[in-house]
């Protein structure tokens, strides 16, 4: 479903990604962990070309989205993205946030967009807050609206860029619940996050990244129980605190 081939990204002299190969199969949940500055977010942002890869190919459902002939706006609606800071549009209601792309990209009539938007909000447990503005919602609710905004476009793959890092601890659960439901319904997901518990329980595969490369990858059990590389062990020791 999502395939990266030798993806490189440089910012000036700094090489953020040093040739990444990655295959996320249909309905698979792949988790990326690693220290900050390891290139996780950059990798994720290359998957919908918010960051332009310096070299390599990014295939979504067989289409190379890096190719200059591709209509990137058309491709992006198949690639949902959820951001650390939610990035809801503050001037629009929850429903307005969800329906903007339905109306402007899919060119849906208002009624149809609203109907699908309400269904998407219902899917994240926020049907009653459709008319609320982002500043009237808690962080967890905002992030769920942001997920609904991406899901309403019925994407083929969803990218999560540290979706719970900006949340108060007691609000993390509600967002993870939504992600769990998505996983059960068969969504293909690539997740950058520090929620190791969630990775252990829900991920099919875990990738450990450091200094712009994938150091090791495997099942959550293997990565968390018996990491091969010293760098992975060191990282896990630091984040789990023992």
């Amino acid at each position: 479903m999502l395939e990266l081939e030798a993806v490189r990204k440089s910012f000036g002299a700094i090489e953020a990604l040093k040739g990444i190969d990655l295959l996320v199969a249909r309905q698979e949940l792949v988790f990326i962990i690693g220290p900050s500055g390891s290139g996780k977010s950059t990798l994720l942002r290359c998957c919908n070309r918010l960051e332009e890869p310096t070299a390599g190919r990014v295939l979504v459902d067989g289409v190379d989205i890096v190719s200059p002939d591709v209509d990137i706006n058309e491709m992006r609606r198949h690639i949902g993205m959820v951001f650390q800071s939610f990035n809801l549009y503050p001037h629009l209601s929850a429903l307005g946030n969800v329906t903007l792309a339905l109306r402007r990209v899919l060119k849906m009539p208002r009624d149809e967009a609203n109907e699908r938007g309400r269904a998407a909000l219902d899917g994240v447990g926020l049907a009653e807050r459709a008319d609320a503005y982002p500043n009237e919602l808690s962080g967890g609710q905002q992030q769920r609206v942001a997920i609904a905004r991406a899901l309403a476009l019925e994407p083929k793959v969803m990218l999560f860029d540290e979706p719970t890092s900006a949340l108060d601890p007691e609000l993390v659960g509600s967002v993870l619940d939504v992600m769990r439901t998505m996983r059960e319904s068969g969504m293909t997901m690539l997740v950058v996050s520090h929620e190791m518990g969630f990775a252990r329980e829900a991920a099919d595969r875990v990738l450990f990244m450091d200094e712009g490369e994938v150091v090791e990858a495997g099942s959550p059990a293997r990565i968390f129980e018996s990491p091969e590389h010293a760098r992975t062990r060191e990282f896990l020791r630091r984040v789990t605190g023992h």
Binding site: L50, R76, I79, R104, V105, A150
Partner: protein, 242 residues
């Protein structure tokens, strides 16, 4: 002795009365006003029409400048900065005279209304452009990325996500600048456009009495004061929000 003092006092009182009378005769002369009011009315409508043309034109020009700037094309931005800097520091009166009296030397004969519109567009678009630019730059990158990630193209992102927030952030500055522009329409009098100030001067010449100028000032006051009130209410509201 007492008689002399009394007479002097009566004399000075009479002189004062004469002074007040002269003041009223010269500046608040109802008779003159009645005679010239059709002229002033004509000037008032011309000023209204000028505002209706000049303000939207300037806002549209400013939007074009600011949106073009936001794409961060280096050579274009140099050009835009040069344009904005030049017209913000170039006296609008001289600009208007150059357009009206100068263009004919290049074989381009322009009617005074067109000359006014050209000069005002060049001048006001540079001011409005700076205001809109500040507004656009006040919107975080995350907003744009969220919109683009759902498939909105650059223009849609600007129109539906960035500009509504940007305009709200700089609304007091926009209104304040609009007040300035409305007052500046009086400059059109130098190219014989029969707007309010011009008509006031004509009326003054016809009656050898400056009352019409006072009337002109009062009309400007009545026209602009409600906008000034609106502005200060808006400013108070934004202060409260911060």
């Amino acid at each position: 002795m007492g008689g002399v003092a009394l007479r002097l006092e009566a004399l000075s009182r009479a002189r004062e009365a004469a002074d007040v009378e002269a003041l009223i005769y010269n500046f608040f002369n109802l008779e003159v006003l009645l005679k010239v009011h059709p002229l002033l009315l004509k000037g008032f409508w011309m000023t209204i029409q000028l505002c209706i043309l000049v303000v939207p034109l300037g806002i549209a020009g400013g939007l074009v400048v600011a949106v073009a700037y936001s794409f961060h094309v280096r050579w274009l931005n140099w050009l835009l900065i040069a344009y904005v800097d030049f017209f913000r520091s170039f006296p609008p009166l001289v600009l208007l005279i150059l357009v009206f009296y100068g263009l004919p030397f290049l074989g381009i004969e322009v009617p005074s209304l067109i000359a006014v519109l050209i000069a005002f567009l060049l001048n006001t678009a540079s001011y409005y452009g700076e205001i809109f630019r500040a507004g656009i730059e006040s919107i975080g990158r995350g907003q744009r990325e969220a919109a683009r990630s759902t498939g909105l193209n650059g223009i849609q992102t600007m129109v539906f996500v960035v500009l509504p927030q940007a305009v709200r952030n700089v609304l007091p500055d926009l209104i304040s600048n609009t007040l300035e522009v409305m007052k500046f329409t009086a400059l059109a009098s130098v190219v014989a456009l029969p707007e309010l100030l011009r008509m006031g001067r004509v009326a003054q010449g016809l009656t050898y009495n400056p009352t019409p100028l006072i009337a002109v000032a009062l009309i400007y006051l009545a026209l602009l004061w409600p906008i000034v009130r609106l502005l200060s209410r808006l400013e108070r509201r934004t202060m409260a929000k911060r």
